[in-house]
Symmetry: C2
Subunit: 147 residues, 2 copies
Amino acid sequence: MRGMKANLEYITNKLKNKNIRLSHQRLKVLEYMDQHRIHPTVEQIYHGLRDEIPTLSKTTIYNTLKTLMEAGLVKSIAIDDNETRYDIRTDSHGHFKCLTCENIYDFEVNMDSIKIEDLNGFRIYARDMYFSGICPKCIEQKRETDN
Amino acid sequence: MRGMKANLEYITNKLKNKNIRLSHQRLKVLEYMDQHRIHPTVEQIYHGLRDEIPTLSKTTIYNTLKTLMEAGLVKSIAIDDNETRYDIRTDSHGHFKCLTCENIYDFEVNMDSIKIEDLNGFRIYARDMYFSGICPKCIEQKRETDN
DNA sequence: GTTCCTGCAAAAGCTTTGCAGAAGA
DNA sequence: TCTTCTGCAAAGCTTTTGCAGGAAC
């Protein structure tokens, strides 16, 4: 399993290599995303960091995430209807959204191995898989409420 | 192959059964979606119908699509970052978005047969698969431009 | 006649833009 | 010192809401 610190070090090295300045705000956004693997929204990152950085603005978070996405260090997730979510995991995996608690779960799936005949001749750059339903925790909670 | 008229008849019957009034605007939105299988945005439906119905408002299109989604006759597609797209095909299939021409292509894929070990114990209601890249038409156009 | 729908205007919410001052290298 | 970043304010866009008049049944 890849350690958390190792991942942050890997990321800051990548920023240096791409000549992206290691500002206090950027490092804190990265640290937040590394420690809170909840596919956070801009709002969640903002509230998670505003105590530590009282002058922080949402604009900076938007700017930072845009920079990180262009650097390939963060991906956006369009599973939510209104707010964009962001993922620090950039390797191929699927997402499940619980319609009750709104949490998003990762799942492993090898999308590259799925051959789609209709897409012969298409150049595929990105593959996303979004499932939705009810997670085990919420199924259990509903069962207890019903009794 | 399912005929187009047959599909519209099927849909209006379903509206009647669910006690949803067959207003002029609703029927026109359904007709538009049936004849323009481009996964249209609200804007596209609006511009496609405003000549025919000069008094039409976007609010009505939003209302109509919401009603049709609740009736299970239309699905929303979250493949676009800013605008929601809508699909009159409600059976399980995947979507490919061309990053050059922005067109969205359907592809056949049996998502129900894909077993995800990480999701044991999850109740899955919806499965979506979004791919993106370049479509054959745009690959060919780029090749011609390069020469 | 009653219920539900339409469409205008306004508001709400997420995201982007312009720019002056501040911080990074 | 020079370049880039931050954060405020304002604007831009899509979508939602409230409500009076109108259409469906």
